[in-house]
């Protein structure tokens, strides 16, 4: 068993690109779910907006890659309005149903044969991230060189995405933190507690919920962009329901309604995930057999890993429902 490799990979997973795009998406989800109490189960849909915004610049619009950023943000604002207009006046559960369905509709539309010319069908879109890589080169980062120190050694390609990614995490973390300290954030938190009370005090609850949904969605969009840039491609099936739920898991793990919770929760999620994956793979490499029965096969690693993640989450909910950074005192007043 190669413990060295296990730890190296786990530590890399801890700060790796997966943690980065999860952290950004979780920040967005935190604005909606943690602070405003909106059950958005379609964060993957917002992420797809960003990824396809970038991808379509090269694939369909044939314009500069950089236009992809405003296009992606525009997509997600439109998506937020589409989801919000019919549902935000209703109870929270309706939003949950509509968001999960909308995200699936988006995924099925972009992977359909009918719209292959726009979205590239189930193959997705490749080869649009050249300008982004070139910018990295201009900053003096060579794609094939190794950067960092043990255990955090990354190729120049990964390193550039990581720098931009963590910078974005910092920016959005700061923005969300500041906004939630402002009177605007106070209204959102009050809406989470009781909409009618906020209405009676003269706040337009509907408008605030829409703002929250769109802000969280735009942050999710940026997460989708980083994800797409790292892969250098957009694959429709990456933006399915499970993505949303893993992000939600990371958010709850860290603690809702805390900026640090979304970021560290994502890091812990991927640190743990990578550790379990590597550990189980090492176990499977040298399987223990009792007669015909093999305890671990390499094909079982993935399943077992997700089972363990699920158990962890259940234990967390039972013994520490406020997450790692949450405030126990605050949790005690849950009226609902």
């Amino acid at each position: 068993m190669d413990w060295n490799l296990i730890f190296e990979n786990s530590l890399k997973g801890f700060i790796g690109i997966n943690a980065v795009y999860f952290a950004i998406a979780a920040l967005g989800l935190n604005v909606q779910f943690g602070y405003t109490g909106l059950l958005n189960f379609g964060q993957a849909g917002f992420m797809a907006c960003g990824a396809y915004g970038l991808g379509m610049t090269a694939h369909y619009f044939d314009i500069s890659f950089w236009w992809g950023i405003p296009i992606g943000i525009l997509f997600s604002v439109v998506l937020g309005l589409l989801m919000g207009i019919p549902t935000l006046r209703l109870r929270a559960d309706y939003l949950a149903i509509v968001t999960i369905a909308t995200a699936e509709i988006i995924r099925l539309v972009v992977r359909s044969v009918k719209f292959k010319t726009y979205f590239g069908g189930s193959d997705g879109i490749n080869g649009f991230s050249g300008s982004f890589r070139k910018l990295g080169n201009d900053f003096g980062i060579q794609e094939s060189d190794k950067y960092g120190f043990w255990p955090f050694k990354f190729t120049g390609r990964e390193f550039w995405v990581l720098i931009v990614g963590w910078l974005l995490v910092a920016i959005f973390g700061f923005v969300v933190y500041k906004l939630m300290k402002s009177p605007w954030g106070r209204v959102l938190k009050a809406i989470r507690e009781d909409e009618d009370a906020v209405k009676s005090l003269g706040k337009n609850v509907y408008s605030y919920k829409m703002q929250s949904l769109i802000l969280g969605g735009v942050i999710g969009t940026v997460s989708g962009m980083i994800f797409a840039l790292d892969r250098g491609s957009v694959q429709p099936d990456n933006y399915s329901r499970d993505l949303t739920f893993y992000i939600l898991t990371a958010l709850v793990l860290g603690g809702v309604a805390k900026v640090s919770g979304s970021i560290v929760g994502s890091m812990m999620f991927w640190g743990l995930f990578t550790f379990m994956d590597n550990f189980l793979r090492q176990v499977a490499k040298d399987p223990v057999s009792i007669g015909n029965f093999t305890i671990m096969k390499s094909t079982q690693v993935g399943q077992l890993n997700f089972i363990l993640i699920g158990i962890t989450l259940i234990l967390l909910m039972v013994f520490r429902p406020q997450g790692v950074f949450g405030n126990r005192k605050e949790m005690a007043f849950d009226g609902r």
Binding site: L179, P183, W184, R192, D194, V198, S200
Partner: protein, 290 residues
């Protein structure tokens, strides 16, 4: 409970004016702040509210009483835009409120509290109070990031909130979560928070429900204090001692309609009201009279 009570200027005028008002359901008042005509609200086949005419005298404390299910809270919801009537017209300060969204009524000076107290439990007491202030610059998301734009206003709001908390003797709870307050304290907080909107009409839905007798006395004083500051108070209540003690005018509802109006003394001897509360002779509707 004696007559040696002093009244503010507007309150004294209002009391004076109410002396000459007819003691009949739907009577006209000399200077109404809130009027309603032919308000009707049906839930399926049930008529919850059917009010022909309703007026609240400016500067008075008006009580809205009636047995359970009389439609008092529904009527409250209709007046404040939390529910829409099937038909009817109502005016606040001479402005028609038909179709005005519930969040706009507060900006117009009409604020309400709820029967089931709605304190925002995971916000601190002072944050609850600050939320009440209207027209906050920092409540625009594009201003949220730039603390310089709203810090000054926030300081003013906090000062006003602290004054109100002191007045309601809640200042020692300032930084506690609202969720850790007792039921009575939450009622006080909700009332204080409503005052942060600088209202002209305060509508209290059962302010005394679940409040202990000692706190009731101070709540009574606070409500009288609102009137003396020139506000109009309309409240729903079941506690007859309190109604008798503090209200200038009493409106009685039963089965969705107004069945009697008058000063507290008139009402306590009104047979229709006694029938409504204690039951009436079998087979006879409350609305048919005697």
């Amino acid at each position: 409970m004696d007559a040696e009570r002093t009244y503010g200027e507007t309150a004294a005028q209002a009391r004076e004016a109410l002396q000459s008002v007819d003691r009949v359901p739907g009577s006209r008042k000399p200077n109404p702040i809130l009027t309603a005509d032919n308000i009707r609200r049906e839930f399926g086949g049930i008529v919850a509210v059917d009010v022909e005419h309703f007026e609240v005298q400016k500067g008075s404390i008006t009580a809205l009483i009636g047995p359970n299910g009389a439609g008092k809270t529904t009527f409250f919801n209709l007046l404040t835009g939390f529910d829409q009537p099937n038909s009817g017209q109502w005016n606040f300060n001479g402005k028609s409120m038909d179709g005005v969204a519930s969040h706009r009524t507060a900006a117009l000076g009409m604020v309400r509290t709820f029967q089931l107290t709605k304190s925002l439990t995971k916000l601190s007491v002072i944050e609850n109070m600050r939320l009440g202030a209207t027209d906050q610059k920092g409540e625009k998301w594009w201003n949220g990031l730039f603390a310089g734009l709203w810090k000054g206003q926030e300081a003013e709001i906090t000062e006003r909130a602290d004054q109100l908390l002191t007045r309601f003797k809640m200042d020692h709870m300032r930084d506690e979560y609202a969720g850790s307050l007792s039921g009575g304290q939450r009622k006080l907080l909700e009332m204080a928070r409503a005052l942060m909107t600088n209202p002209t009409l305060v509508m209290l839905d059962e302010p005394m429900a679940g409040v202990n007798p000692a706190l009731k006395q101070s709540l009574n004083q606070h409500i009288r204090g609102l009137r003396d500051d020139g506000m109009t108070v309309l409240f729903v209540e079941h506690d007859m001692d309190m109604v008798h003690d503090i209200s200038d005018w009493v409106i009685v509802m039963a089965e969705g309609r107004i069945i009697a109006e008058g000063t507290p003394d008139d009402i306590s001897s009104n047979t229709a009201v006694i029938d409504a509360y204690l039951g009436t002779r079998q087979g006879q509707s409350l609305l048919e009279g005697e």
